[in-house]
Amino acid sequence: MKPDRNSTPSLLDVKGLTRRFGGLVAVNDVSFSVKPGEIFTVIGPNGAGKSTMFKLIGAFIRPTSGDVVFEGKSLVGLAPHQAAARGVVRTFQETTIYREMTTMETVRTAFHLQCRATSLGAFFNTRQARADEAEANRAAEEILELLQLQHVRHEQAKNLPHGYLRALGIAMALAARPKLLMLDEPFAGMNPEETDAAVQMVRRIRDQGITVMLVEHDMHAVMRISDRIAVLNFGRKIAEGTPQEIQNDQNVIDAYLGQEDEELGI
């Protein structure tokens, strides 16, 4: 691990990351670092390249140039499941779920990375496979409790109300035991009370020692929760800093806050 400018080793270093789609530059020479235990947010107007950034870090797509370094090792060129195995796990928006699995089945599936038995071992139900299953059950219960999903554990995902789906998405990601948890718009469409609860939830996750990275639209929640924020506009990073710094940054006000009413529909 190499020390960064503040001499705390960072967990994630995004270095000069660029991704083109044909003629369009979705992400343009973006760099930032996320430190362990931080809540780091990437914000920006629609089409600013936030979700492309997410996909790049999660190794779902490859950068045109630049690098993504996690715990001192590059993630570029890995398959998404390999990035997940390194500890980089993302959530999706709530329509991306296992529709026909119950809450319990979903979380147990997500426990995949913790299973130590090989495929063959699982097939023959070896001692290790049985231990995995028992451990999966135990851990799943724990996660369901954390996210208050116990009472819907036998409900199929497609029958769950929206609020639960987002919690289910986070439950899945937690079951994969991430070091860096990337949440895709966790507060979208929530009323203030729901947002409050969700903010508490994200803090609890961070308090468990998981570094959290958010992509968000909702400025208010982001300002309350984030340690540091990076702002993207048209694929470029236009600002980075604490919530206070961002709120007072003229570039950000011009690019983003100025159109907040329209963006957020407030």
Partner: protein, 335 residues
Amino acid sequence: MNDTKSKLLAYVAFAVLYLVVVPLVFSGSPYALGVFSMSAALSVIALGVWVTFTIGRINLGQAAFALIGGFVAAICITRLGLSFWIALPVAGLVSAGVGVLLGLGILRLRGVYFAMITISLSEAVRLAILNGGSLTGGATGITGIPVPGELSLFGLVLIPDFASVNTHRAFYFLSAFLLLASILLVWRLMASRLGRVFASLQQGQELSQSLGINITKYRLIAFSVSCFLGGIGGAFFAAMQQSIYPGSFVVADSISFTLYCFLGGLAYVAGPIVGAFLLTIAFQLLHEFQQYQQLVYALLMIGIMMWLPNGLLSLRLPTFGGRGSASREVTRNEA
């Protein structure tokens, strides 16, 4: 795990009926035993198709793998002089190997694309065998395959030479053994973590990747099991018929295997088996309507989709419930 236990119990009851009662009742009828043996072989092949359904792929290429299995076994026995007992696993493994090679490319395709490419595969393998020259015998295929010989280990005879016993009954027991072993294989697969992973691939590939699941690997596992079962079924078919032709398994058979799965019910491990036995036996009983066989097949397929989309097993037999969606959907709607 009460569900698993009762499922196991049902399987045991089924096994007793199948292994003791049926061969006793029909011991004097080679014809009936033949029909049952054929049903079992077709069940094994259709089980493979069912396994590909669990990863969300519609496999219309199973005829290709049954043909590969049949010809590999026939070539091993007649050209290389190997024992059937070696040729059988070799046939399954070669099929699985071909499946892995092809699967690396085609498993990335989804939905109708996968269906179209596998249907083309059924045709392509038939043509490849047709053009196989003296190795495959071309259009005339390979005939005069000897029945399985003795299998012994350290002088201990495990299985007698089929020619020296009641051959039909011997084939019946072989088919029964293969079917039960296949059921065991698929049931273990579905009951383990792998079954959950397969279901996750069906319902959200990207999500599975993000959770650290190597989707390429698990798709290949499912597909190679499918191809293995196709190959084993094909090899048994070649041994029992003592011949195999490029036309032994064609596109229409690939579609029939899918029909078996649907008729029994996609949500049940037993689905393809119920479907295969019912249809194969029904057509033997309706012998005089043979020229209408195709019409009956067609009306059945359409009728199932119109009125029984979850298959026969969805009507009752909850103890046979396996993984999957349709069954639960039905229960929920009725509740």
